[in-house]
């Protein structure tokens, strides 16, 4: 592969993978396809799409209209995400294309293996890319220090792997058609890992909804003493769950609330886990709107809100962090009262 730099014509590989059906591309993969098409046009490069999965060939029809060369790695070994097999499959796709730039979705499946694959083919990697720009060169935008500093980076070493954050490009939606797919053979490595499946929260407890329009963030104030001097955890729990049911929102939490444990090491709010955590040591989700309640809005929290469009907060503290340019609207009020009334209004409308 070419390690010499950027002056020669780039060859772009978009690595994609199938969803749990085994034969359809994930939304994040289709977003990476869009990025690949745009970058190919910008650099006058050649485009190949590589598909990994149980029945990768079947997934190719949705990208047939791209006109890209299509490669597939298929088989039972790729039915489930696993480092050893996925890395071998992606490595085979990279070697088959000799790509100088490799784009891939920043899914859990590919974030697990992409750096290893880059290393195997002598390349380098940058992840969490939120934008690609430049004319003759490639400039990639990403965040450092947990979404507190934004940088534009470039590399003159190839191959260059770029993992794209979900939601940063529109999903490719060309017309499906018959696709000519080249199957790429993979020498499967020995592996000691068996994937047993997914552990999915009970339906009532499934509070993380990446596709929801609204993020509802709860802070430690929900479990603090209220004006009557008492703690009202059961009421808080009921209000939060009712709100989630009525709005379809995704639930986020401050670290301090997720850390709180009741007797028996169960969280005070049993439907909350560390996976709900938003901020410095949590996630940075993408939602159109976000509503914060009982959370003081200091920097460690707010870094997790970097990609939230419209932001509102309910807080009893008129000097909380949200009021200092971090939210669009801050209501100085008791979240217990307000959310109860919001729930009543939403219930009446449904």
């Amino acid at each position: 592969m070419d390690h010499s730099g950027v002056s020669k014509m780039e060859t772009i590989l978009v690595l994609t993978h199938v969803d749990e059906t085994g034969s359809a591309l994930t939304k994040a993969s289709l977003e990476a396809v869009t990025a690949g098409i745009e970058l190919t046009r910008q650099l006058s490069a050649s485009l190949t799409i590589g598909i990994l999965g149980l029945n990768a060939e079947a997934a190719a029809s949705v990208v047939a209209a791209t006109g890209a060369r299509l490669l597939a790695v298929s088989g039972d070994a790729f039915a489930q995400p696993r480092y050893a097999t996925d890395a071998a499959g992606c490595e085979a796709l990279c070697r088959a294309t000799q790509a100088s730039i490799v784009l891939a979705p920043g899914s859990s499946r590919f974030t697990r293996v992409a750096a290893g694959v880059a290393h195997r083919v002598g390349g380098f990697i940058d992840t969490h890319i939120t934008a690609l720009s430049g004319n003759d060169s490639v400039d990639a935008t990403r965040w450092f220090y947990r979404q507190r500093i934004e940088a534009v980076v470039s590399r003159n070493a190839r191959p260059w792997f770029l993992l794209l954050d979900a939601g940063t490009h529109t999903a490719y939606a060309g017309e499906s058609g018959a696709a000519t797919v080249e199957a790429v053979a993979v020498t499967l490595p020995a592996t000691r890992t068996a994937v047993e499946g997914l552990r999915i929260p009970l339906l009532d407890a499934q509070t993380i909804r990446p596709d929801a329009k609204l993020l509802f963030v709860t802070g430690a104030g929900w479990t603090k003493k209220q004006p009557d001097g008492q703690i009202h955890v059961a009421e808080a729990s009921s209000l939060i769950l009712d709100f989630l049911r009525l709005t379809g929102a995704s639930l986020g939490s401050s670290k301090s609330l997720a850390d709180q444990k009741a007797e028996g090491e169960q969280s005070v709010l049993p439907f909350l886990t560390h996976m709900n955590q938003i901020g410095q040591t949590g996630s940075t989700p993408r939602h159109a709107k976000g509503l914060s309640t009982c959370c003081h809005g200091e920097e460690p929290h707010v870094v997790g809100w970097r990609f939230i469009g419209e932001r509102r907060a309910i807080s009893l503290d008129p000097n909380c962090g949200w009021t200092r340019g971090k939210a669009d609207v801050v209501y100085i009020a008791d979240a217990f009262q307000v959310i109860a009334k919001v729930n009543a209004l939403l219930e009446a409308r449904s």
Binding site: A84, S107, S108, R112, V113, A115, G116, H119, F124, I125, T127, H128, D139, W143, R146, R148, I149, E150, A151, V152, V153, S154, R155, A157, P189, T191, T193, A194, E196, L198, R199, R209, L214, T247, T273, H274, M275, Q277, T281, L291, E299, P300, E310, W322, T323, G325, K326, A327, D328, V329, V330, Y331, I332, A333, Q337, V338, V342, A344, L345, L346
Partner: protein
């Protein structure tokens, strides 16, 4: 002794999350203003990995725990004064640049070299731990690259739980999309586990543990090897603080009914 483990935790140091960060460009590229005087802490997700590792070592007699950390010696010493009180470990310091802007591949190479040179490490029994992402670069690639360099092809990222079996196998829960966990069973070490939050609270400081650790930490720091990190073709076009400052409307006098009506209209608007 079936589960006598050899755990190496890779953990960097990061500015305390409450500090204000301001990027500056120096002769060696971007960095943070007053970076060397900013209070630092152990990288939060890597700290979770350390606490999980310490608990595994405590539960499995004959096990050993190393903490490998790359950073300026002075900052490492400062952070270890606190971290050393959390759990017993052998520090393997590498004297090098601080911050998130150096290239991850160079960082990984330095870490892998240090781990490969650890005296007494049985690599067949190795569990390589770290955070699944750092709070500096946040790329989530360093540990994976260290694993590749050490020839470890059983790797897990976003780990929240490991459960050891009697036969040396272990079950791992990894975070995947939508608040779910992928469950895998690995029949034996070696393996790489990039930890998310895990399930353990931060241990209380134990001054006795701190005193014992410091007896090894100070000589190790004195002998720490210096490394320079190659850029590997990485260059920075720009490094900036986000300019997004919102015009906040603060409503102090609305009733709960008025707020609820406004919120419902906002939530249900397309």
């Amino acid at each position: 002794m079936a589960n006598a483990l050899q755990i190496v935790v890779c953990a960097g140091i990061v500015p305390d999350p409450l500090q204000t960060l301001e990027p500056v460009t120096g002769p060696n590229g971007p960095g943070l203003k007053n970076e060397m005087v900013l209070p630092a802490v152990l990288d939060p997700w890597a700290a979770c990995a350390l606490y999980e590792a310490a608990q595994l070592v405590a539960k499995n007699p004959g096990s050993k725990l190393w903490l490998v950390s790359l950073g300026p010696k002075a900052k490492l010493q400062q952070v270890m004064m606190t971290v050393g009180q959390k759990s017993a470990f052998e520090l393997v310091p590498i004297d090098g640049p601080i911050g998130g802007f150096p290239d991850a591949a160079s960082t990984a190479a330095a870490l892998a070299e240090a781990i490969a040179a650890l005296p007494g490490l049985d690599r067949e029994r190795l569990l390589l731990f770290g955070g699944w992402e750092s709070a500096t670069r946040g790329a989530g690639v360093t540990l994976q690259l260290v694993g590749e360099r050490l020839g470890i092809t059983e790797q897990f990222q976003g780990v929240d739980q490991i459960t050891l079996g009697e036969d040396g196998s272990f079950e791992v829960l990894e975070r995947v999309e939508g608040g779910k966990h992928q469950v895998s069973v690995c029949t034996a070490t070696p393996a790489v586990l990039g930890w998310a939050t895990g399930n353990l609270a931060e241990p209380r400081n134990n001054p006795q543990t701190g005193m014992a650790n410091m007896r090894g930490i100070m000589p190790a720091l004195a002998k720490a090897k210096h490394v320079d990190l190659a850029a590997n073709g990485l260059s920075y076009v720009s490094v900036n603080l986000p300019k997004q400052q919102r015009e906040t409307r603060v409503e102090k006098n609305m009733t709960a009914d008025e707020i609820a009506s406004e919120l419902v209209a906002w939530i249900t608007a397309e």
